[in-house]
């Protein structure tokens, strides 16, 4: 048993932290909240230059051939800096399915572009039914000649406005088993018939309603097998979930550190508030939550990375980390007092954004039910 990062991972963590402190200050995060695109092409280019997008892709596709565990270390740093960029969406939600299920041509077409920062992608999965289960997929794709016509509405689709391609989860066949008859399509985001309407979110991240009206998708743009798309989604989910967990661990760590520093500096009644036991008790709870979140997330990521079965650990991690992050933000706010909820302060950025991660691919209640199934109930 070894809880330490490898030397390589330490280097990755340190260099990414240094880079992001310089290139992704909170002024940029705030600016991007107001900005229409929501990301900085210069920062994106810089990240690509460091090989981050292709970190866990094989070298054949211009990647670095590192592991998913290594990628989790990097994503933790992105979460710490709350980097406003379509990174997880492009690299994990869309890139991983291409890597796992794409044909040679698709892999050669998409992965090197993603790795070089030349391709932004967005997963168009959830719908107004707001569920992560296959029966929530009602957007239809109907075959017509050498292509399909996609119609219906996707909701909570992130980064759809800047994406070059959408990975669309659509129903191609009605069947009793709702996991059957789902197909994944790589759809040019500028295709006629796609209408984007921005949603106003608490996290000021860029989420959209995406309405498809007879959008053409060529048959060659099916990712994986016709009607068997759900199997690919199921394979991607643990990666997506754990990417979010690593992101939340980074955010929680940053909130903890900001809060402890504040408690050391803020003076009331003639002494730093961190000397008061009421504050110390809260800080101790925070670090317990953050450490627990870190280990449960990394154990699952390590198992996934090593190719071990980990459905139980993945759901445990998502359930725990989501709530631990929320609690950490809430305690952090309580200790910061009034100043923490002023827009100029960094605390509120984490608090507002934590919700989206908590919800991604199922909240704690959703994953607790999956845990119940896994432990034999």
């Amino acid at each position: 048993m070894d809880f330490a990062l490898s030397e390589e991972q330490e280097m990755l963590r340190n260099s990414s932290r240094d880079f992001l402190v310089k290139e992704c200050p909170k002024t940029l995060v705030r600016q991007m909240e107001e900005d229409k695109t929501g990301y900085s092409p210069a920062l994106w280019k810089g990240m690509a230059g460091l090989g981050w997008m292709g970190l866990a892709y094989p070298e054949t596709y211009e990647g670095s051939g590192m592991t998913f565990l290594d990628l989790a270390v990097l994503i933790e740093e992105l979460g710490r800096a709350i980097v406003p960029a379509p990174f997880i969406n492009t690299v994990v939600y869309c890139g991983m399915p291409i890597l796992m299920a794409g044909n040679d041509e698709q892999k050669k077409e998409f992965l090197p572009k993603i790795a070089k920062g030349e391709m932004i992608m967005s997963l168009a999965f959830t719908e107004p039914s707001a569920t992560w289960k296959p029966d929530g997929v009602e957007v239809k794709a109907t075959a017509e000649g050498d292509h399909f016509l996609i119609s219906g509405t996707k909701l909570f689709t992130q980064d759809a406005h800047t994406a070059n391609y959408l990975l669309v989860v659509a129903r191609t066949k009605e069947s009793k088993n709702k996991a059957e008859g789902i197909t994944l399509f790589l759809v040019d985001a500028k295709s006629p018939g796609i209408k984007l309407t921005p949603l106003k979110t608490m996290g000021s991240d860029k989420q959209f309603e995406v309405v498809f009206t007879k959008v053409k998708a060529a048959k060659k743009n099916i990712l994986g097998k016709l009607d068997h798309g759900w199997e690919v989604i199921e394979k991607m989910l643990p990666y997506g979930i754990l990417a979010q967990c690593a992101w939340m661990v980074g955010g929680a760590q940053q909130v903890l550190e900001m809060t402890v520093n504040y408690a050391k500096e803020r003076v009331q009644f003639g002494r730093p508030i961190g000397s008061f036991q009421a504050i110390q008790q809260k800080c101790a709870n925070m670090v317990t939550d953050v450490d627990g979140a870190r280990f449960i997330a990394y154990e699952a990521a390590w198992k996934l990375s090593e190719g071990m079965p980990c459905a139980l650990e993945v759901s445990m991690a998502k359930a725990w980390v989501s709530e631990a992050y929320r609690r950490t933000c809430a305690e952090g706010h309580q200790i910061h007092g009034g100043i923490g909820f002023i827009k100029d302060h960094d605390m509120q950025l984490y608090y507002r954004r934590a919700k989206a991660s908590e919800l991604a691919f199922g909240d704690s209640d959703y994953h607790r039910e999956l845990v119940a199934q896994q432990i034999g109930l």
């Binding site: 048993m1 070894d2 809880f3 330490a4 990062l5 490898s6 991972q9 565990l69 402890v260 408690a263 050391k264 002494r271 730093p272 961190g274 000397s275 008061f276 036991q277 504050i279 110390q280 008790q281 800080c283 101790a284 709870n285 670090v287 317990t288 450490d291 627990g292 280990f295 449960i296 990394y298 154990e299 390590w302 198992k303 650990e313 445990m316 359930a319 725990w320 209640d365 607790r368 039910e369 845990v371 119940a372 432990i375 034999g376 109930l377």
Partner: protein, 395 residues
């Protein structure tokens, strides 16, 4: 990062498991265990502890010079995990052996080691811990029991409390006030080994709410403790006590005890019907047990982290406090949740007709109040984490 045990570690775990299967009756966890502190229990416990000694498990990590095998500290951690899982008898005796052995190995002199370590290794010489006093609980530095220097011995007067197992102990290790005029409180104490047969010692058993009387008060009335029984430097008893407290707090058992309870409840909820349907189908119960499983997983990792920190010789103070805090509170949550699931049967104690799960969970509900108090309260752990772990200023 690697969250695997080595093959060697797994083999060692299997060895412990087969030992426990052999030595404990098959219905050990379902009513077969003798009632705590009865004569039958003590006879059984003595035999069990001696067998642990015979297997070399008490002394496994010690230097060869003192009869140990210099095994990695991980093995001690795994042993603790398995003992707690199966609720082996008298684990507190085993734990105190770990503490006193560490005290002797780190702070003792050669003669003291030679005198005491073989008895500890044999599993037949019992020790109690004389730390707390009526006026020194969370504030352990407030120890008042006096050890007056009388030339070739110290004269000890005063009262200790929570000297668990003192009524059966041969020896006691205790920080005492030897230097009341020292400039700093932390320099006033020295650590002593006290023969419990010494004239002037009176032990009074305290019965706790679950009906077990093994917590004790120990009174010292002009007790003569030979000079050679002082461990380590004079005036450095506080330092030694703090090092031992770290050991006390960092057990792997914090996760394995609730793990066993979880497994019992998963089975119970599959077998038990309410209104014609298994409890396991009730979404609320599924939610509760899943949450239990998740928190146990977090606890296990926090515990393994401590063992890793120990194995790699890093400072264990803050991470030990974290597992003590999380583990003790988790056990209370798990047991409280278990009782919720039992419904009206939650009231039935061991030995009662109709008791579910042998009444054990109900007994745990009473017993586990002590978990968040003994070895440093949760509030003290949080202060340690905040000040020593996070560097927040002291009061």
């Amino acid at each position: 990062m690697d969250f695997r045990f080595t093959e060697e570690q797994e083999r060692f775990r299997q060895k412990i498991r087969s030992f426990l299967t052999k030595e404990l009756p098959p219905d050990w966890l379902t009513g077969g265990a003798p009632e705590d502190e009865t004569d039958e229990w003590w006879r059984f416990t003595q035999k069990f502890l001696k067998k642990m000694g015979d297997n070399g498990w008490i002394s496994a990590t010690w230097p060869k010079e003192y009869g140990g095998q210099e095994r990695p500290t991980w093995e001690d951690a795994l042993l603790g995990e398995e003992l707690a899982y199966i609720r082996a008898p008298a684990q507190d005796y085993w734990f105190r052996w770990k503490m006193i052995a560490a005290l002797l190995l780190h702070f003792g002199n050669d003669e003291q080691r030679k005198q005491h370590l073989p008895g500890i290794a044999s599993g037949q010489v019992y020790w109690c811990q004389g730390f707390s006093e009526p006026g020194a609980g969370s504030d352990l530095g407030g120890v008042q029991v006096k050890a007056q220097d009388k030339g070739d011995y110290f004269l000890v007067n005063g009262q200790k409390i929570w000297t668990t197992g003192a009524h059966r102990a041969h020896w006691c290790f205790a920080p005492l006030m030897s230097d009341p005029d020292a400039p700093k409180r932390s320099r006033m104490l020295s650590m002593f080994l006290i023969d419990m047969k010494s004239p002037g010692i009176t032990v009074r058993r305290l019965e706790s709410l679950e009906g077990v009387a093994h917590l004790c008060e120990t009174f010292f009335d002009d007790v003569k403790v030979p000079k050679e029984n002082m461990v380590g430097e004079r005036g450095r008893g506080w330092l030694a006590a703090m090092a031992l407290v770290n050991i006390e707090r960092s057990g792997l058992g914090f996760a394995s005890m609730p793990q066993r309870i979880l497994e019992q409840f998963v089975e119970y909820c599959k077998e038990t019907k309410l209104n014609g349907r298994p409890l396991a189908e009730n979404p609320l119960i599924r939610h509760k047990l899943a949450e239990m499983a998740i928190e146990i997983q977090v606890c296990r990792l926090l515990a393994y982290r401590v063992a890793w920190v120990q194995a790699t010789n890093q400072d264990v103070t803050s991470v030990g406090a974290i597992i003590k805090l999380f583990g003790s509170e988790l056990m209370q949550r798990v047991v409280a949740t278990g009782l919720e699931i039992l419904g009206p049967y939650a009231q039935l104690v061991p030995g009662s007709g109709h008791a579910r799960l042998a009444g054990n969970i109900t007994r745990d509900y009473m017993w586990n109040l002590s978990l968040t108090i003994a070895g440093g309260t949760s509030e003290i752990q949080r202060i340690i984490i905040a000040t020593q772990g996070l560097g927040l200023p002291r009061m």
